[in-house]
Symmetry: C2
Subunit: 226 residues, 2 copies
DNA sequence: ATTATCTATAGATCTATAGATAATGC
DNA sequence: ATTATCTATAGATCTATAGATAATGC
């Protein structure tokens, strides 16, 4: 979550915590696809009074928008926290894609919030869209991907990631890691790599995500900040 | 639209027409993303009394579901109506994909209804999903596509088509035909064709869609059946 | 005689605010 | 003294139905 900032006063922290509880409640509801619920149900989940809602947001839509932006930031933060020593742009792109794919199963609730507004995954400035574009351009410049229109490349990249998430949620019997790596390979081939190179890049080992996802959206204790 | 069937009695036809007007109104609203409107707004658009709604549907959700199914059938009917003499499975797949891509601009409202529930495009039995699966399997059997898991192939195919539609709506300045053909080529390459073959297949001429879309969702006169 | 539709509305639900209370800053 | 939060609720909105009317079938 967009951590409650260590703002100046205790007042600010208290206020930020209330806002955070509202956003978390909205994310729960988004993940369940229940965006039509009355505001009172949101505030009850957040355990705040109804009136408090209007101290922070003007409307339900505004709250849900904020909830999606927060989720996008969580994902971006996660990927940044892993930003290790990889200087190879194609390898960096592939790793981000494979990790994001794994997230659908490791942090299903965060994933569902993101999928609720799938397209924003690539268009929002807070999202991983800018990161993906940067990596693709770098890989094109390095000659690893064929030079081509960025918008065109993003259609395949974004579309595949969103649909991958939907399928992994829909069909729990599928092997998520294998499917993710296969789809990543397909995307790399579409971007201009040979199948051999793509498969090789997709079978490298990944940093473990398990430890990092503990404080993500799915942890029930997350809002219970002491 | 699921044409008002030439059912036995005039009674049935009248009833079917009312139902059809409700579905059309729901599709208008779906295309605008306004699924939260009161039932009365739907019935006003359909120009029927409020009470009539409950003669046909139990809830708003049920109506919107029916509206999506109807749109899926429209698209399937359209593609079927073109089912000419193409015996080459890869070519048939590519043509369907390119035509569906063009539909986003030629029948924007139908497209928006489909995109409102994008994932169902591939999972619904009425949709073009079954058709796509059939074509892909045939092309794999014919050695045109690499043999591989169908679910894996569908992630790329479905995801790219949905994201393509969103991008074409979002960014009217893009050349829709060119973008569609390029994305189709990328998908074919990911499915195992060479880029040369894929580009060739994507530059063949298409049947004109303009004439066929006249009686689709976008025609304002559509519900005004005499 | 039967069935679809229409109008009007009771009752349920929801939004947004007013006014009171609690927590913090200075 | 200031600001966030809470409780209670007025007024708006929405759903779903009852009862009347219109269209068709036989």
């Amino acid at each position: 979550m967009a951590a409650v900032p260590a703002s100046s006063t205790r007042f600010d922290r208290r206020r930020a915590q209330t806002r955070s509880a509202l956003i978390k409640a909205a994310q729960d509801l988004l993940a369940e696809g229940r965006t039509g619920v009355p505001i009172q149900e949101v505030t009850e989940r957040a355990d705040v009074g109804i009136g408090t809602f209007y101290n922070h947001f003007d409307s339900k839509d505004q709250l849900f928008d904020a909830a999606v932006v927060d989720a996008l930031e969580q994902l971006a933060d996660l990927l940044d926290s892993l930003d290790s020593s990889l200087t190879d742009p194609a390898a960096h792109f592939a790793r981000s894609f494979r990790l994001t794919g794994r997230l659908h199963r490791l942090a299903p609730q965060l994933s569902r919030v993101l999928l609720a507004r799938g397209h924003e995954l690539s268009t929002a400035p807070q999202g991983i869209g800018p990161r993906a574009r940067r990596d693709i351009l770098a890989a094109q410049a390095a000659g690893q991907f064929e030079a081509r229109d960025l918008d065109r490349a993003m259609v395949l990249v974004t579309g595949s990631m969103i649909e991958l998430g939907r399928v992994l949620h829909d069909r729990p019997e599928l092997d998520g890691d294998a499917m993710t790596d296969e789809v990543t390979s397909d995307v790399l081939v579409a971007l201009g790599m040979t199948r051999a190179d793509a498969d090789r890049i997709c079978s490298t080992e990944l940093p473990r995500l398990d430890d990092l996802t503990t404080d993500l959206l799915d942890d029930p204790a997350r809002t219970a900040t002491p």
